[in-house]
Amino acid sequence: MATIMFGFGYGEGFPDHSIASVEPVGENRILIRTSAADVGQGIQTVAVQIASEVLKLDPEYFEIVEGDTHTTQNAGSSSATRQTYFTGQAVKEAAEDLLGNIYHHASQEFTTNHPEMAIKDGRIFSHVNSEDEMTIWELRDRLADRGIELKGRGTFFPRTYKPDPETGQSERVYVGYSYHTQVVEVVVDTVTGQVTVEKAYSAIDAGKAINPAGVEGQVEGGTAQGLGMALMEEQVIEKGRTLNPDMSRYLVPTALDVPEVETVIVENEDTDGPFGAKGIGEPAMIATAPAIINAIYDAIGVRFYRLPVTPEKIKAALEQN
């Protein structure tokens, strides 16, 4: 078993931020603009889910312009476990800005007050006068006739604090902290030195899981990467040259090496991220290697301090004892 605590985002006083915009386009589409790169972690899905939740509109209505520097503003890198937190919150604020603008302009169209209006499925309507109803896109067209653009913009720019150079302490070094505990069952073959990870249990603090299937996917993938780090992956460099630059000599876990992972999502909702969400990308893999190494210790009573723990190392350690 191993438990880790992880500060996500760049932190340490770095001016980290994300900018997004949300606007009605075409006949019945909503366009989200963000330069956040989706490398498979699912930030696009998360962005759509968040905007969909704020605007009370089905995800099917949404489109994304992603990573186009001509039409999007900075969202920072897809690294440091930061996109759901930063871009998720920027998209949430952009969607809220759009929603606020919709309410503002529609209340003038309906000559009514905010509390007497509502929005659902792209329709804006008045509780007072049932004839007062229009779609978001009709409102956009009416405003365009008067030279007004209907759009929402959001910038999420949380403050972080430089750590004291002597103590390493500060108000808040990182924007938020995730926790991950992993339990693994391993079998060590004392004849061959082979370690098999038979099962993994993961409890991850996601703050709020915007996309629970995506969180599971990240945890399962992280477990595979952590397993590789613990047991197989070793780049051999000699005089600056990598001696094993291929997958038959640098071993990456296959479907037969990776166990079934049972994921438990813990939702603390204790950050300034969207709906309390935290980043979980990197924490998903960090606990795996120490959990495996601890399990090997539990099985054969040998502590390993250098990764990966290959069958050769296990054999050598067993022979020494």
Partner: protein
């Protein structure tokens, strides 16, 4: 030299040079970009296609070897009406796709497995997929996807795909 082969039920003739690879003609000459070049050494499985019904690493097959062959890629799994194959749909529904790079190869391997073994156990799916390396999903949802497709195909309604191919 000119070679003639069938790809995704379509007969094609191409002028190829002896050193070209099957993967090159599929991606560059025919523009079918589902199969990916990962390692280029037959070790990762990203370029897997069915070659006369068997999964092969298309980066290891020379183009002239494809003369007279029948080839199936992910593009060929889509029905004539443009519907996704149940296996493709299952990959989407289970969230088995993250970065997606290995997925076309994994789908072709899964497709071949289900022909032989329409109700595979999880271990059997893992065994079949052992040559398709995935760096980001941890395989669990890929196994889920193959099993979901298997159960949907078993429960009927999808026999049209079998006839199409």
């Amino acid at each position: 030299m000119e070679i003639t082969f069938t790809i995704n039920n379509e007969k094609r003739s191409l002028e190829v040079s002896p050193h070209q690879r099957l993967l090159d003609i599929i991606r560059k000459d025919l523009g079918l970009t589902a199969a990916k070049e990962g390692c280029g050494k037959g070790e990762c499985g990203a370029c897997t296609v069915l070659f006369n019904g068997e999964p092969v690493a298309s980066c290891l097959v020379l183009a002239p070897q494809a003369d007279g062959a029948e080839i199936l890629t992910v593009e060929g799994l889509i029905s004539r009406e443009g519907e996704l194959h149940p296996l493709q749909q299952a990959f989407l529904d289970t969230g088995a796709v993250q970065c997606g790079f290995c997925i076309p190869g994994s789908i072709m391997t899964g497709y071949r497995l289900l022909q032989d073994n329409p109700e595979p156990k999880r271990e059997e799916v893992r065994q079949a997929l052992a040559g398709n390396i995935c760096r980001c999903t941890g395989y669990q949802k890929i196994v889920d996807a193959v099993q979901l497709a298997a159960s949907r195909m078993q429960s009927g309604g999808d026999s049209s795909w079998a006839q199409d191919l």
